[in-house]
């Protein structure tokens, strides 16, 4: 909301400059966004009259002028084309400062002295909007009427000094979307009297009638319209508004249209109540009906656009058609024309939520809708319509009809709040005396009532945001001073801050990651179906079926919530690859989202899992490097019992180089080399390794119960064994058999060689182990171990067709 200091001065004396005022108001809650000053930064520019023009002897495009600046004549050389002898112009004298910071100095132009500069509007920081009759690429010609002002400061003569402050108004303070509201804040903030120039607008005694000049008004949908007031002015002369009004409108960013429309805008700025003006003759049957639009109804709004309406939208209609979209914009069909004679002023209050929805649906946000959607005061509506009529009289552009139509089905509620000063002080941690509280509230025009020894506060009509004690506390604090708040520490019951199991595991995982040289990344949780297709998934893959769609995505890259973190990781690896970063090791701890069992359709929340994703490429990276890191993660998380199973059917991964980790049947991690086709889709020209580890599941399966095991007292017995098996036998299978058959005596099993040769034969390999046997309560005997070894070998032969290597 923009407000000029000049206008605000109608409400309060202002004895500080605009920057200081801005700081003070920011600290009382009206945050200043920008301060714009015109005129302030122009120095030593005066009115002058051109007395003589002659050609420059050495330059065709320059002329030498003599300019009368009151007490002297100065010589100025200029290239301007639009000047004539006798023109009155703005003259920047030697030492003048212009708004762009330029300082005017004496100088020579092609050998001729020039002691100043004649200015264009642009050089004075003005625009064609300020002075439409001026040209932009020439000297500003002031006209004869300024001849009396020769030598006077141009800023004073043209009255262009203006300070405009732009405030950020919070949505609870609809009253501050008006100069009156900000003016009140200014007065209280500066501790000045609030002059209240529009005090008596609601006390005007005029006759309430059903019809004025044949016009009637009815509210058909009172749930959306709380009050509808109409007044009429006759014999209107449509024309231009006076300069002072145009200037104030412009300061607030509103263009002047004609005197009647300007009055409605002026009142809106002044009092915060949007108004509308109709030509009475454009209202069919002179019947105004406030109703919901009918499906399929259309209206061409004042901006010339035809808009489709629906049953959720409120309109102002006549007996046949909508003539305005309530609270948003009027219709072309009832616009004020140059020949309009009788004007209907509308001042109404609508349900804010409805106006907001309508304005969104139509993508049409106006000064009116911005105010209405916050919820306006029904009481203020009456003031506004009276003010509009008052302005018509003031400008002498029409006659007042001393009657009013006032449909007021929903009265404004007034709060009554007990002023419990002790409670307020406790809430704020302050010690403000009750008297001071009352004095602040009084300045804010709150009514104070004493009843049965208790003090009650009744907020003024324009402060519907004040509903309870906490609201009073804020008002008191605003003017007692937010800067007077003390700093104390919570003196409450002791609480213990501790990380939970999952948070601790996450911390440990991060430390394992950085120790293995991985860098953490952050990615967006959005993805799209094309991205999932890059993973070569079948259409019936659950990663596609369970994706959750965003109703209003930001763009087509972010249409769904990711069901897998792999695409995000591949994308980042691909970015790094494209930037020629060699050997990249990354990890990400983030979520994936799955619509399991159609929960979304049942309005239930979907599943969210926290996933550790590892992604790496580079010369030193292979499957077993990745496997080692995964094992470290599990070890640090104390997840010791799990199975590793080869995965051949996951389209993301290489069918021969991928593993699932399982507890029971529950897969909690998948890792391996990414499928060459997928890699190609991401434009990476190198092997890429990825692991996906579900941290929620790790947390579930991790067993943190460390217990000391005595260090063995008895010696171990060791045996080496080398067996020949078929190439496709996994060592994991061999190890399981060895463990199973070792009669619980096996302490350690170490693979130390895998060997292939022609001698062994095609598709055969030799696998060699070192086995260490020990039991905790006695020394093992050779024979015992020999028996176990025999059993192991027999079982290996039986199950795997293994042979002892000779």
């Amino acid at each position: 909301m923009k407000a000029s200091i000049e206008w605000l001065e109608e409400y309060s004396d202002i004895d500080v400059n605009s920057a200081e005022l801005g700081d003070i108001l920011t600290m009382t809650g009206s945050k200043v966004e920008t301060i714009n000053e015109t005129g302030e930064n122009i120095k030593n520019v005066v009115v002058g009259k051109i007395c003589f023009i002659e050609k420059h002897p050495d330059a065709d495009k320059l002329v030498i002028t003599q300019v009368d600046v009151g007490n002297e004549k100065i010589q100025i050389v200029t290239g301007a084309r639009n000047i004539n002898v006798g023109d009155v112009v703005p003259v920047a004298k030697e030492g003048a400062i212009l708004p762009d910071g330029k300082i005017i100095k004496k100088g020579k132009l092609r050998g001729v002295d020039s002691c100043g500069m004649m200015c264009s509007i642009g050089e004075l920081g003005l625009t064609k909007a300020d002075f439409p009759e001026q040209i932009e690429d020439g000297i500003m010609i002031l006209g004869e009427k300024y001849e009396k002002d020769l030598g006077k400061n141009i800023v004073d003569v043209l009255d262009i000094r203006e300070s405009i402050i732009d405030f950020e108004i919070t949505p609870n303070r609809q009253d501050c979307f008006s100069i009156e509201g900000i003016g009140r804040e200014v007065a209280v903030s500066l501790n000045k009297e609030f002059k209240n120039p529009r005090k008596n607008l609601n006390n005007i005694n005029i006759k309430k009638v059903e019809q004025i000049e044949g016009l009637s008004a009815k509210i058909k949908d009172p749930d959306l319209c709380y009050r509808y007031i109409a007044r009429v002015v006759k014999n209107v002369k449509i024309g231009e508004s006076p300069d002072w009004m145009k200037k104030r409108l412009k300061a607030c960013g509103i263009r002047s249209i004609n005197n009647i429309v300007d009055i409605t805008n002026y009142v809106m700025l002044e009092l915060g109540q949007p108004m509308h003006a109709f030509d009475i003759n454009s209202i069919k049957s002179k019947e105004i009906i406030v109703r919901r639009a009918k499906l399929g109804e259309e209206i061409t709004t004042l901006d010339g656009i035809k808009r489709k309406l629906d049953e959720d939208m409120l309109v102002i209609a006549d007996s046949q058609k909508p003539i305005a979209i309530a609270g948003v914009m009027g219709g072309e069909n009832s616009e004020i024309e140059d020949n309009t004679k009788t004007v209907v002023f509308e001042s109404a209050v609508f349900y804010g939520g409805s106006i907001r929805k309508t304005s969104r649906k139509l993508a049409l946000r106006t000064e009116a809708s911005t105010r209405y959607e916050k919820g306006l005061s029904q009481e203020n509506a009456l003031r506004a319509v009276n003010r509009a009529v008052e302005l018509v009289k003031l400008l002498q552009i029409g006659e007042e009809v001393e009657e009013i139509i006032d449909e007021y089905p929903t009265k404004q509620e007034t709060a009554k709040i007990e002023l419990n000063s002790e409670k307020i002080n406790k809430l704020l941690g302050l010690n403000v005396p009750k008297q001071e509280m009352m004095s602040i509230l009084k300045k804010l025009e709150m009514t104070i009532v004493e009843e049965n020894g208790k003090t009650y506060i009744i907020p003024p009509f324009f402060r519907q945001d004040i509903e309870q004690l906490a609201d009073l506390a804020e008002e008191i604090l605003r003017f007692y001073g937010y800067d007077k708040l003390e700093s104390t520490l919570v003196k409450a019951n002791t609480t213990i801050g501790l990380k939970n199991k999952e948070q601790k595991i996450e911390d440990k995982i991060r430390s394992v990651m950085i120790n293995n040289g991985l860098s953490e990344i952050y990615t967006f949780s959005f993805t799209n179906y094309n991205e999932l297709k890059k993973l070569c998934l079948n259409d019936d893959n659950e990663l596609i079926l369970q994706a959750i769609k965003v109703q209003n995505p930001l763009n087509e890259d972010y249409t769904i919530m990711r069901t897998t973190t792999v695409p995000s990781m591949l994308q980042i690896l691909s970015n790094n690859f494209n930037k020629k970063n060699e050997e990249v090791r990354l990890f990400d701890i983030s979520r994936k989202y799955k619509n399991v069992n159609n929960k979304i359709e049942k309005e239930e929340l979907p599943e969210e899992d926290i996933v550790l994703t590892i992604g790496m490429y580079g010369d030193n990276i292979d499957f077993f490097r990745l496997k080692g890191i995964v094992e470290n993660v599990l070890e640090i998380s104390e997840l010791n019992k799990y199975d590793i199973i080869k995965e051949k059917n996951n389209s993301i991964y290489h069918p021969g180089i991928c593993a699932n980790l399982k507890v029971g049947n529950d897969i909690f991690a998948t890792f391996g080399e990414v499928h060459p086709k997928v890699i190609m889709n991401y434009g990476i020209n190198q092997k890429v390794y990825i692991a996906e580890i579900n941290i929620n599941k790790i947390t579930k399966y991790a067993k943190v119960n460390k217990k000391y095991q005595p260090i063995p007292k008895f010696p171990a017995l060791e045996r080496d064994i080398a067996i020949v098996v078929d190439e496709n036998v996994e060592v994991g299978t061999i190890e399981k058999i060895i463990e199973k058959k070792s009669n619980k005596m096996l302490e350690e099993l170490k693979l130390f060689d895998v060997y292939r040769s022609d001698k062994l034969g095609n598709n055969k390999k030799s696998v060699a182990y070192n086995l260490k046997f020990r039991i905790k309560d006695r020394t093992l005997k050779d024979e015992e171990v020999n028996t176990v070894m025999k059993n192991i070998l027999e079982q290996l032969e039986k199950e795997l067709n293994a042979e002892l290597r000779k």
Binding site: L477, Y482, T495, N515, I521, K549, Q551, I572
Partner: protein, 339 residues
Amino acid sequence: MKEKILNLKEQAIKEIRQSNSEKDLNDIRVKYLGKKGELTLILKGMGTLLPEERPAVGSLVNEVREKIETELKLKTNDFKEQELQNKLKNENIDITLPSKRTKLGSIHPITQIIEDVKEIFLGMGYEIADGPEIELAKYNFDKLNTPEDHPARDIQDTFYITEDILLRSQTSPIQARVMETKQPPIKIICPGAVYRSDSVDATHSPVFHQVEGLVVDKNISMADLKGTLEMFAKKCLGEKTKIRFRPHHFPFTEPSAEADVSCFVCGGKGCRVCKGEGWIELLGCGMVHPKVLINCGIDPNEYTGFAFGFGVERIAMAKFGIDDLRLLYENDIRFLKQF
């Protein structure tokens, strides 16, 4: 005889001391103490001595033998020491050659800030609470005094999945969930990702991170809020940091405030980071709105509380001097490795 033995001793010692290698020493040992060594021969020839001379000569021979052995040992040690010295001399390395290690990875700046914040608040007895990112509108809005017709619920600002399910636009729904399930005292912080419909640019992102805090108990005051945030600001941004409250409005707090901190780059003098103002807008906060307490089943006549929340990216950017938010999500390894 005695003289001969002593001569032998002198001679042996001389030879030992003049010897040049361990091999020489071995020869000397054989020459004097070996089976056919000179001293051994004397012992063997004891039979020719008078019985009364034998003990004296015997003990002299033993004395000399010990002496020679000691000398031999000393000289051997000398040689060993010398040998070691030579070896050490040859084993000299260039210690500025590169080390053998896996270079450490790095923790993302967003995590670093969140971890700093967690540590500060854990120390003050706060728990860390978590909740779903895909959230019910009920928790994201309704319970937080942001009813259906409130502007903040606008589809332009919030991503919706259905009419009632959305991507949380703040971490506050976690607060509502905690208040609903737990009676005071409540002291929590809620870090996490939040979603708003903003296009990506140097200062905006549709996904960003917040940390919110909530305290509810008897007699919690706005001074407690200021004290807590002051403590936080000092620990997180430096002991000299000052904090300033300005009035503001949020639907879920009353009174509400925006808190600025003195610029931690220039210390308040005014610089590029604080745009010459000396203050940086840090967070929004206030006393929990009584309606929010009621909505979550807490009696506002008995309990009061405060809440605050801030954007992690903003702090990370200011603290690390990162001038474009996009860098945080581009994850170029050359960027990541700097943290």
